[in-house]
């Protein structure tokens, strides 16, 4: 009888998560804890890092069915895998975004292209490291600093790399206030950083209402692969700008966005299981993602310096780094660095122009990439 009890107890113990725990799980639990620390203590994008960190921890506690077929996190991931969540995020982003600064200063849109050189630096680097061209493209798109676009492109080009790419993209977006300023200061002089820009014109309601229709038609005609994202972005913006459907706009920008954010962060974190995450490939992707961010920041600032030179000193080069997407984080970084040089120089609205253009820049870069690699 004693042997029977021992055998049953042993059987019970083997079914617990403790029996399946290995050092990789411990490492990833610590990674999840670090993400949560960054969110709580340093306030780095808590809306993203809390959910990612928590579900990373849960995904690395063996025995739970949450990430297995039929589990809650499994279905959350399905929303990402079936490319349902990224367009819904863009719906919310469009509903909360005022494209006025971009419409008021169309010339600054070009910085939304200039700041994406980092994508291609990382793409070439990834190809040199032995990734396929599709994988390299998915890794490069991290440099666009646009989470939904990174997920969208990755699911088309290299879905098996989604965990690493999504975590790298969202983590670097959250760490932008750390990554960008040293590069911005290295490439600009104090005099350049103190340039005060003239206020842009006021954009009328009619222009703001026409904007989503015009952009949806143009971008979808030119780049059908990214139509789902751009369509939803412009739909959300239209709901916001017509003013008469404020309930819909409010729902898209707030409640829906909150639900989707929770679902997305849980889905992303749940893919960070140790056996899939802890390998050399992950390290390479993390490093390449950082290269993409840094390269994009540098190319954006250099692009703005060139524009400043041609304009006779009217453009503060700090706004160039905001051409990386990640609205409004990158614009906020430009604003803060500008304030450090001149506490009366408010660059935020000037930086929003390139920042918003960066969203289109990433979409356009991603769409061309999908078309050239042959993915629909």
């Amino acid at each position: 009888m004693f042997e029977q009890i021992s055998s049953l107890m042993l059987n019970l113990a083997e079914q617990t998560g403790i029996a399946q725990l290995w050092w990789g799980n411990i490492v990833m639990i610590m990674v999840g804890a670090i993400l949560i620390y960054l969110a709580l203590s340093r306030r780095y994008e808590p809306f993203l890092l809390l959910g990612i960190g928590f579900s990373c921890i849960v995904a690395n506690v063996p025995g739970s069915d949450l990430t297995q077929p039929g589990g809650l996190f499994y279905y959350a991931y399905k929303g990402v895998e079936l490319v349902i969540i990224p367009p819904l995020i863009f719906l919310g982003v469009g509903a909360m975004t005022d494209f006025g600064p971009m419409i008021a200063n169309p010339s600054l849109m070009i910085l939304g292209a200039a700041a994406h050189l980092g994508i291609f630096i990382a793409l070439i680097g990834a190809k040199a490291l032995g990734f396929t061209l599709a994988e390299a493209g998915a890794i490069g798109i991290i440099g666009g600093a646009d989470g939904p676009m990174a997920i969208f492109v990755t699911m088309k080009l290299a879905p098996h790399l989604l965990p690493q790419i999504a975590v790298a993209a969202y983590s670097y977006m959250a760490l932008m206030p750390l990554i960008q300023p040293p590069i911005m200061k290295l490439l600009t002089s104090p005099a350049e950083r103190q340039i005060v820009m003239t206020q842009g014109r006021t954009v009328s309601r009619l222009e703001k209402i026409c904007f989503p229709f015009v952009i949806a038609i143009i971008v979808n005609l030119l780049l059908p692969p990214v139509a789902p994202l751009i369509t939803m972005l412009m739909l959300g913006n239209m709901l916001r700008e017509v003013l008469m459907v404020d309930r819909l706009a409010s729902t898209a920008a707030n409640d829906l966005m909150n639900v989707i954010t929770i679902t997305l962060t849980v889905a992303v974190g749940s893919t960070m299981e140790a056996s899939k995450f802890l390998n050399i490939q992950t390290l390479e992707i993390v490093v390449l993602g950082l290269v993409a961010f840094m390269g994009g920041t540098a190319s954006g600032v250099i692009g703005a310096k060139i524009m400043n030179w041609f304009s006779g000193g009217k453009i503060n080069p700090l706004i160039g780094s905001a051409g990386i997407a990640s609205v409004p984080i990158a614009a906020r970084v430009s604003h803060v660095v500008g304030l450090q040089e001149n506490p009366y120089n408010f660059l935020i609205m000037h930086a929003m122009g390139p920042n918003l253009a960066g969203v289109f820049g990433t979409a356009i870069s991603g769409g061309i990439m999908l078309a050239l690699i042959g993915i629909k």
Binding site: I110, I124, S204, V219, V242
Partner: protein, 53 residues
Amino acid sequence: MTVPDTMEGAYVLSVIDFFLSFVIIWGISLVLYIFPYLNKLGHLDDNKLRGGH
């Protein structure tokens, strides 16, 4: 025709993509330069637009 999965393909993809991004964004900015002329069509009052249900 798609880009070959080689280093040369990576360079070609990058050059074309980067260049075309500039062209497309420049084209969109040209369209936005025309936007102020939309105001000649009329003016929309925010207060009249609000209050939908």
